[in-house]
């Protein structure tokens, strides 16, 4: 479980996150939704440690990320998998080497064990015979799937997905959505997805957090989304569906 308590973050005096509170449960696919520029990406960057909040608590199952030392943070980060908007695959490495990267870096597996794990992860995301291709030779959807394979290689406890459907056709988006849900349930991990794709939210979301102008205005189950009573959220949903 990940808990956010009173997260504030400002850039050059401009408040981007204003006392954000939220809780993301284990084994559930949680969504952070909101308009562009609302603070979703900054919130995710704070959660994974790419940005340091000005104040607040980010609690990973009892471990306050902001109070951990360098080595404790390093250890915790190995429990985090992240799927980036553009895939963020290493250009100079093949698909196989991309997925094998965290295994080679942080484990003492031998070559055949690494290869077995890489093939297992690639098969899990329904990719075959792509081991020796480079990121520049594969499609956007495949890049996302390789990104998921790399994210799950180390058996993470927490999975972060930043706009997993951006730039994908509806069919591929559906495949990626299904993969994220399956992996969340199969590995019983805490998954947080940043998105403004309302269709994905209704299809996959167990728990929704609505961020508006840097504030967490609403939090709840997707079944309550249409009857939230929050004017900004209602407008956002209406605009997305329109």
């Amino acid at each position: 479980m990940i808990e956010l308590k009173n997260i504030c973050k400002s850039f050059n005096g401009r408040l981007v996150l204003d006392n954000v509170n939220a809780a993301f449960k284990k084994g559930k696919c949680s969504f952070v939704i909101g308009a562009s520029g609302g603070g979703k990406s900054v919130l995710m960057k704070c959660m994974v440690g790419l940005l340091e909040p000005d104040s607040g608590i980010i609690d990973f199952d009892g471990r306050d990320f902001l109070r951990l030392d360098y080595y404790q943070k390093k250890e915790l980060r190995q429990e985090i998998g992240m799927l980036f908007q553009g895939g963020a695959l290493f250009d100079s490495l093949s698909v196989e080497d991309n997925v094998a990267f965290p295994l080679r870096m942080f484990t003492n597996m031998n070559k055949s064990e690494v290869l077995d794990r890489v093939n297992f992860c690639l098969n899990r995301v329904k990719l075959e015979n792509v081991n020796h291709l480079f990121p520049s030779n594969i499609s956007g959807g495949m890049k996302k799937r390789v990104g998921i394979a790399r994210a799950i290689a180390m058996n993470p406890k927490y999975l972060f997905c930043d706009e997993p459907n951006s730039g994908l056709d509806p069919l591929t988006s559906r495949v990626i959505d299904e993969l994220i849900v399956e992996i969340t349930e199969e590995y019983d991990i805490t998954t947080i997805v940043n998105s403004h794709d309302i269709k994905s939210v209704f299809d996959m979301g167990d728990h929704i957090v609505f961020i508006y102008k840097g504030q967490s205005l609403w939090e709840g189950h997707k079944s309550d989304l249409r009857h939230s009573g929050n004017e900004s959220l209602a407008k956002f949903i209406a605009a997305s569906e329109f």
Partner: protein, 250 residues
């Protein structure tokens, strides 16, 4: 205002160096990256260094030879002047400036592209010390490859001088070689290699730093690459002056 900006950047550069010079997470991966970088830097720069060095020596012979012609100074001195100029200044400085353009821009654009395409973020999130992982092998490889290229340049520029003597007929090759062997001071090599190592460090660290702080897109990667070359060149010239003053002026 400019001074504040300079010290702010310098402080950030020092912090970047501190995070870069950390023990690698996995030595096996570090050595693999190190040897790849040494090969890439050496192999890719070999041709340009060969061409430049040959012509540096060739032009030096003509320039100095034209000034000595008609004077009472014996022409054997030509080889000595060209040798010392090549070893002390031309090879270490000009090669370093060319390397700043070639290797420096390559490092900055490579790391800059990794930064804007979130590859650096991916490393950080995995728990890898990204600065150390991407920059340290390049810095260490540059400390090895650039002095090696400069040593090769010192040798080849003197050969270029001999080729120039052969074709221009300013002096015979024998007289030129006699001059090359005259009153050799081994400390000049120490001085040249000190400059080479300092230049290599400046090129690799300044370029890595500029690449690492890139934010935005393709345009910013280009700007970072240009900035890396400009800053490296200024730093090389500045330290060239300082080291020459410290080591040669007695």
């Amino acid at each position: 205002m400019i001074a504040t900006k300079f010290f702010e950047q310098f402080g950030r550069y020092l912090l970047f160096l501190r995070s870069s010079f950390r023990k690698p997470d996995k030595w096996r991966m570090f050595w693999k990256a190190f040897f790849t970088e040494v090969y890439k830097m050496g192999n890719d720069s070999f041709a340009i260094v060969s061409i430049i060095s040959t012509f540096i020596g060739a032009v030096a012979v003509i320039q100095f030879g034209s000034q000595l012609q008609g004077s009472l100074v014996p022409m054997t001195i030509l080889g000595r002047i060209v040798r010392d100029a090549n070893i002390l200044e031309f090879s270490p400085t000009i090669t370093a400036l060319v390397m700043a353009g070639k290797i420096g821009s390559n490092i900055a654009s490579e790391i800059g592209t990794m930064k804007v395409s979130e590859q650096i973020d991916a490393l950080e999130i995995m728990g890898v010390n990204a600065a150390s992982y991407v920059a340290l092998p390049k810095i260490m490889a540059a400390l090895f490859a650039i002095p090696a290229l400069i040593t090769y340049s010192m040798l080849l520029s003197n050969v270029g001088g001999a080729i120039s003597c052969f074709f221009s007929g300013i002096v015979s090759v024998d007289v030129y070689v006699q001059g090359l062997r005259m009153d050799f001071d081994g400390f000049f090599i120490t001085h040249a290699l000190t400059k080479a190592v300092v230049s290599a460090f400046l090129i690799a660290t300044i370029s890595s730093y500029n690449g690492y702080r890139t934010e935005g897109g393709a345009l910013e990667v280009g700007s970072a690459s240009t900035m890396a070359v400009v800053q490296s060149c200024i730093a090389i010239i500045f330290f060239d002056y300082i080291l020459t003053q410290l080591m040669l002026y007695k």
